[in-house]
């Protein structure tokens, strides 16, 4: 069953095309990896799914009630903002409907503590967000995405500035999550992809290649190859 259907999406930024006629379906519980050159439109595709970027044509259909967790590639926030690691993570539990005097429930707090423990962030939880290293911050952002209890987790180059040990730890978390939920991973980590045969999409404005490397006979090509 598809949880997301991307139908013929094109995206333009002030006249330059970032995506051209992209079609892609995401099946429930699948692990989709998106690769491609810098500027190939990977982040743009994800932002289109999330509704942060409006396509110039085409539509994205998302299963009703699908909860999406997102780990951005570039964080837009100010790292000196006065907020603690714990408070950043629990933001993932905030309810969409704005209500006056709403509070975090006991469950929200418990889930937050669980995630903090699972990702080994206990010692950092009262630190101000600016006092973390790049890799530690990355883990906090993953925690914020996980605490929402999403049905789909989208990560945009989450391992870009991590050491080998942390990288493996993140992959382990993703695989565990993937046991019953879907993941979209944007990555340049070809070594990882070689060792983990999965559905891979190569994106460079268009989908250049899409194939499930676990089942070689199911490989199929879109458009011209480069």
């Amino acid at each position: 069953m598809n949880i997301i259907d991307i139908n013929n999406i094109s995206v333009e930024y002030f006249g330059t095309k970032a995506l051209e006629g992209v079609c892609l379906s995401i099946v429930d519980k699948e692990f989709l990896s998106i690769i491609g050159p810098n500027g190939g439109g990977k982040t743009t595709l994800i932002k289109t799914i999330l509704g942060l970027v409006k396509p110039s044509s085409g539509i994205v259909e998302i299963k009703k009630g699908l909860r999406i967790g997102y780990v951005p590639q570039h964080t837009k926030f100010d790292r000196n903002f006065p907020i603690s690691v714990h408070d950043v993570i629990i933001t993932g539990r905030i309810k969409p409907k704005i209500r006056m005097f709403s509070r975090y429930s006991e469950e929200d707090k418990r889930l937050t503590d669980d995630i903090i423990e699972r990702l080994g962030l206990e010692t950092l939880k009262n630190r101000q967000i600016g006092e973390l290293s790049g890799g530690q911050l990355q883990k906090v952002l993953i925690a914020r995405a996980l605490v929402t209890e999403p049905d789909l987790l989208i990560l945009d180059e989450p391992t870009a500035n991590l050491d080998a040990e942390n990288k493996n730890e993140i992959y382990k978390i993703l695989h565990k999550f993937n046991e019953d939920k879907a993941v979209i991973l944007v990555t340049h980590d070809i070594e990882y992809l070689n060792n983990n045969k999965r559905h891979v999409v190569l994106l460079n404005k268009k989908i250049i290649y899409s194939g499930d490397s676990r089942r070689n006979n199911h490989e199929h090509y879109h458009g011209e190859r480069t």
């Binding site: 997102y70 964080t75 100010d78 903002f81 933001t91 905030i94 704005i98 005097f101």
Partner: protein, 272 residues
């Protein structure tokens, strides 16, 4: 000081205004400092001069015109920035100057003897009426109510607006609410410290509070307390030495800031 407070209505009004505007400054100031809206707020304050001028021309309460212009400036800057490629910084500069220019024109067109604009430019806390104190109290109450009741959303929005949007929260509503509150808060401050000096009231107490805390809520509370002390102190100097209140409040607050930093350094060194 207590005797003077009890004896004179104008001193009592000034005292209440100092306290109430410190509450507004503590909350709104923390928001604009953390959301990097300081120059935007300067723009809003100056644009409101056009509305104040229009108020004189039409013979209505100038601050009503000021609120109108301030809110339009805030929402105008935000929506033009979203639709075009013009940088917010540039737009702020444009609104700032055009607002001032319109104010000057409206006042020149106002028939009769030209009104004295110095109270609007530099503020005069010793001349506020008890009616204005009530308006200020209402504004302060609304600011406190909104920021407490929506604190989690506010904090999330200020920190990472994009993420809140992904979580399905109506961030456009948050943005409008924030900009309207900022505009209204700033215009009422104008009466106390003036257009030119309002930005100081919105930043100095917050900078001082940030020496002590790295928690959003605490920064709001501390800057309200610091603001209350410095504005009452400044008001007192203004009364005693007959100097303009806006300027004296600001000099007291910058003095407190300048002294707090080294003192806090010494204290924290001793603790280690």
């Amino acid at each position: 000081m207590i005797g003077v407070l009890i004896e004179y209505d104008f001193m009592r009004n000034a005292f209440y205004s100092a306290l109430l505007s410190s509450v507004i400054c503590g909350i709104i100031g923390t928001i604009i400092v953390e959301k990097k809206l300081v120059s935007m707020s300067g723009g809003i304050a100056h644009t409101s001069f056009g509305g104040i001028g229009l108020g004189f021309l039409l013979g209505i309460e100038p601050l009503i015109g000021g609120v109108g212009f301030a809110v339009s400036a805030a929402l105008g800057i935000a929506s033009i920035k979203r639709r075009t490629s013009t940088e917010a910084d540039t737009l702020i500069g444009m609104f700032w100057a055009v607002g001032m220019a319109l104010g000057v024109i409206f006042i020149a067109l106002t028939p009769g003897y030209p009104p004295d604009m110095t109270t609007y430019l530099f503020g005069d806390i010793l001349t506020v009426s008890s009616r204005f104190v009530k308006i200020l109290a209402l504004t302060a109450f609304m600011t406190v109510l909104l920021s407490i009741s929506l604190f989690r959303y506010l904090k999330g929005y200020l920190f990472d607006e994009e993420y809140l949007k992904i979580l399905g929260i109506n961030t456009t509503f948050m943005e409008y609410l924030l900009y309207i509150s900022i505009s209204v808060g700033i215009v009422f401050l104008i009466k106390v410290v003036g257009i030119v000096l309002s930005i100081a009231m919105l930043t100095i107490p917050i900078a001082t509070a940030k020496i002590f805390s790295r928690d959003l809520g605490r920064i709001m509370i501390y800057s309200t307390l610091i603001g209350s002390i410095t504005s009452i102190g400044g008001m007192w100097f203004s009364y005693m030495y007959n100097i303009p209140s806006g300027a004296s409040i600001i000099m007291v607050s910058i003095l407190v800031y300048a002294l707090t930093y080294p003192v806090s350094r010494i204290i924290s060194k001793k603790r280690v």
